[in-house]
């Protein structure tokens, strides 16, 4: 594999400006040298490893909050701002960006946009694409460009905010973002329910899908990662490896969450849920932290090296069937499904090279594709995975993306190899 020098030029790392980012990419373009943009470095395992020698471009120095007008509910920040710093600034004004990101004290906003990262609350709050209203970036020729603006409604010009979302740093290096934000909810609540089996979980999820008042998150949890020490006497302890659990989070005013807590518990009990309970705030908070961190590190505090972590996207109605398939292959895998959004994250306990062809390529990916969905490898310890194994085959849509890539990065220097091109 090609080596990557991680030589950040000192002045770039210490006090970069968007202009310097453009200059440095321009220089790389002139030299046809690869540039690897890096924010907090929390998603470097996502996608392929670099394929060409080149330089890492550290963007964490781009961390200013440029302008924040709370009464407009918009904020303009540089892309290297850490998610917790952003959250703190917003919280001081009673607002938030409701995107759930693991290792938020390290992760940067630009990285979240580039990876299109999302978490449990995507059901109620959408994903980062729904919040970016303006973007500044530098293309593969070192040309700084922007799209959108500072207002919440704007259809002038092509929407680069969308195009760069999920582009994994391959079309442009994001330097600045304007976001619309939301008021912090007055109150939140979490209800958990155990399900006797996968079939029951399916019935419960059907019921929740048609609630007139949707919760913000419906997670379906299963597997050893969700086991907690038996000394913990809280309700959370009952989320065990064998029993699927549903965790439903809701937000609103005190009155609303009180009503929702009753309503959701009743629904779940009527539909056959077991041990249905409203979690105490402290337990809910502990569980919530694990729900956010799971995709990144599994059980919690220490990184846990799963050989293969995948994200499968299917129609919500197919989630329980998919989970059954995953468990049939590896009974010890741990699963978190954002069930109402059809997103299933699986951390396998065992997954070897010999499983790639029959399981990943032969079974799971076709099953997802048949339902109109996709399967991507989030991270893992197996080496030698090709772009097609990580992202899936070349579709007609990817041909269009390649056409765009050639225009935005004619010398293929922006994160070459990270995505399928």
């Amino acid at each position: 594999m090609a080596t990557v020098t991680t030589s950040q030029t000192p002045d770039l790392a210490s006090s970069p400006s968007p202009v310097e980012v453009a200059e440095s990419i321009r220089a790389a373009y002139d030299a046809s040298r690869a540039v690897y943009p890096v924010g907090g470095g929390t998603a470097l395992n996502y996608g392929n490893s670099p394929t060409q020698p080149g330089e890492q471009l550290d963007l964490t120095g781009l961390n200013r909050i440029v302008d924040y007008t709370p009464r407009d509910m918009t904020i303009l920040v540089e892309a290297g701002v850490r998610m917790t710093d952003l959250a703190a600034a917003l919280a001081a004004e009673g607002q938030h960006l409701p995107i759930d990101v693991p290792r938020a004290s390290e992760a940067t906003l630009g990285g979240v946009v580039a990876t299109n990262w999302s978490g449990p609350r995507r059901y109620g709050h959408g994903t980062i694409r729904d919040y970016v209203i303006g973007i500044h970036a530098v293309d593969g020729r070192g040309v700084a460009f922007k799209g959108g603006g500072r207002v919440v409604k704007n259809v002038a010009g092509y929407d680069f905010c969308k195009l760069l979302t999920g582009s994994l740093g391959t079309l442009g290096v994001i330097t600045q973002l304007a976001l619309k934000v939301k008021p912090l909810p007055e109150s939140t609540g979490t209800v958990v329910a155990a399900c006797a089996d996968v079939a029951t979980a399916g019935i419960l999820l059907d019921r929740l899908a048609t609630l007139p008042v949707p919760p913000v998150a419906i997670d379906y949890l299963l597997g050893p990662n969700w086991q907690v020490p038996t000394t913990t006497r809280s309700r959370q302890a009952e989320i065990g490896p064998q029993t699927p659990h549903l965790v439903i989070r809701f937000e609103g005013t005190e009155t609303e969450t009180a009503w929702l807590a009753d309503q959701i518990q009743t629904e779940l009990q009527q539909a056959g849920g077991m041990s249905v309970a409203l979690l105490a705030p402290i337990d809910a908070a502990a569980l919530w932290k694990r729900q956010i961190e799971f995709a990144d590190r599994g059980a919690g505090d220490a990184p846990e090296n799963s050989p293969m972590v995948i994200k499968v996207a299917v129609p919500p109605s197919a989630v329980t069937k998919l989970v059954a398939q995953l468990v049939a292959f590896d009974p010890d895998c741990s699963i978190q499904a954002h069930a109402a959004s059809g997103i299933v994250i699986a951390r396998f306990a065992k997954f070897g090279h010999s499983d790639i062809t029959p399981v990943l390529v032969g079974k799971l990916r076709p099953a997802a594709a048949k339902l109109g969905g996709s399967l991507v490898v989030i991270s893992g310890t197996l080496d030698g995975l090709t772009p097609h194994l990580i992202w899936g085959g070349r579709t007609d849509a990817i041909v269009l993306m390649e056409n765009i890539k050639r225009k935005f990065d004619p010398r293929n220097i922006l994160n070459p190899g990270r995505f399928v091109y």
Binding site: R150, A156, G157, G252, A313, G372, I398, M401, K407, F419
Partner: protein, 479 residues
């Protein structure tokens, strides 16, 4: 190689589609020479009415072979000239692709063809407990395909988002005639968000032939109210106060005195004609919390000197209030023979300032300007009233429009919130964007529309294309 004999394009199109779905007589084409942007007119050489994506693809391929420009058209409600066939060519009218192909409540999506009228989908969804949220005021006529092109908004986008927030996937016929699906019923397609890029592309990045839209659960309850204000300033301060208090109403619309008079004359709702502004505010959500939310909004209105806050007592009164709002444009006919609607956006906190400026600009150009708009989003729709029979009025309208939009830009806003750049606002693009921005936009267009035959002359200023200020109406707009 023997040169192919020059073949008449219409004849070839008839071979593809049959004789009934190709129009090329000038008298048949007159209706397609403009959309709701009536200041400029272009007649297509031929209009075709495909019924399938395969037919669209065949038409596009034929146009490519002949080097003829082509442009998709929905219901022709674009206020920015998005559907005009600049330079003639083939107009691909999509109104016969009008099937709702699937409604899936469990997975919360519907699949529609581009010619499905926005309101038809909600009619179909009635009683299911779900709806399609984007609700442009033209929803009784405009198509969902057209909504995708412009990334259309509407009153309820304040809380629920615009079209792009509700489109999961599109099938497009590319500029070169390939049928490609981007996104679909399942979220999280890997890679750049192409769906979000094509939606809002104003038909320049592909012709949408199928759309997967997100369905939204109907709110459990709703409270609709009317805040009546002595002054526009007070009304705008109330808007700022409501948003600033962390309340996101489902809708927050403002009508000023000018439009109130017309609406009152048309609908006899009993609006006080001496009030300078009213706010139509709707909150929705969980029934149990709604009265408190409504009362809080009413309190903020009163703190900002609302003369009166009226609550809609029942569903009937609510519908009547919304009828006034959505048909306000129709009532303008009572005020003047012609009008021009603008579509600027400002940060919400700049609303008091921009409305003062609009008033001043109206005075400067001796024009009557009335306002009915999506106040909660900061999305203005100043309506400039004129009579084109009076010499020089159109010029004054255009000059005043330009000044208003420039003022929006000065405030950190945009020249279009939901109508699009189209043809109308081309000359504002280089005021909002640098040459580099426009160069990269051109690269995006070239990537997906390499020959430039698809919807030429739209969205991006190019040599030869003209913007609003350069337009000299060749004939009278027939309003």
């Amino acid at each position: 190689m023997i040169a192919e004999p020059a073949v008449n394009l219409s004849a070839e199109l008839r071979r593809l589609l049959g004789p009934d779905r190709v129009l090329d007589a000038h008298s048949d084409l007159a209706v397609f020479e403009c959309d709701a942007f009536v200041i400029e007119k272009h007649c297509p050489s031929v209009a075709v009415f495909p019924q399938t994506a395969n037919e669209v693809a065949a038409i596009v391929k034929l146009c490519n072979e002949r080097g003829v420009p082509f442009v998709p058209r929905g219901a022709g409600t674009s206020l920015a000239g998005g559907g005009l066939p600049v330079g003639g060519g083939v107009m691909i009218v999509l109104t016969r692709m009008r099937e709702i192909l699937e409604v899936n409540l469990r997975d919360r999506y519907a699949i529609v063809e581009p010619g499905v009228v926005n309101a038809w989908l909600n009619k179909r969804l009635a009683g299911t407990g779900f709806h399609y949220a984007p609700d442009p005021s033209s929803q009784g006529a405009c198509t969902i395909g057209g909504n995708c092109a412009t990334n259309a908004g509407g009153p309820h986008t304040l809380k629920y988002g615009v079209t792009v927030n509700h489109v999961l996937g599109v099938e497009i016929v590319t500029a070169e005639g390939e049928i490609v699906q981007v996104g679909g019923p399942v979220e999280d397609s890997p890679g750049p968000d192409l769906v979000g890029t094509i939606v809002g592309g104003e038909g320049t990045l592909g012709i949408v032939t199928k759309i997967w839209v997100r369905l939204t659960p109907n709110p459990q309850g709703v409270r609709t109210m009317l805040g009546i204000f002595e002054s526009v300033d007070d009304a705008t301060q109330a808007i700022s106060g409501i948003i600033g208090a962390g309340i996101i109403p489902a809708a927050l619309e403002m009508m000023d005195q000018g439009i109130l008079v017309a609406v009152e004359e048309a609908f006899h709702f009993g609006f006080p004609l001496d009030a300078e502004a009213i706010l139509l505010i709707e909150v929705d959500g969980i029934e149990v919390g709604l009265d408190a939310q409504r009362d809080r909004v009413a309190e903020i209105c009163r703190q900002n000197n609302a003369r009166e806050v009226r609550f809609a007592a029942d569903a009937k009164e609510r519908l009547q209030l919304w009828k006034c709002r959505k048909q306000a444009f129709g009532a303008i006919g009572r005020l003047s023979p012609s009008y021009c609607t603008q579509d600027g956006v400002v940060p919400r906190t700049k609303l008091p300032h921009i409305l003062q400026r609009i008033r001043a600009i109206g005075a400067k150009y001796d024009l009557r300007i009335v306002n009915v708009f999506h106040a909660g989003d900061g999305n203005l729709h100043p309506i400039l009233l004129f009579d084109e029979r009076n010499a020089g009025e159109i010029e004054r309208v255009l000059a005043a429009s330009g000044e208003i939009l420039n003022e929006c830009l000065e405030c950190g806003g945009s020249v279009t919130g939901e109508h699009g750049i189209g043809l109308e606002k081309l000359n504002f693009m280089n005021r909002m964007f640098t040459d580099d921005d426009l160069d990269v936009m051109t690269r995006l267009r070239d990537a997906l529309n390499p020959g430039g035959l698809l919807s030429p002359g739209k969205l991006l200023p190019t040599a030869g294309a003209c913007g609003m200020e350069q337009i000299h109406p060749g004939r009278r707009a027939a309003l």
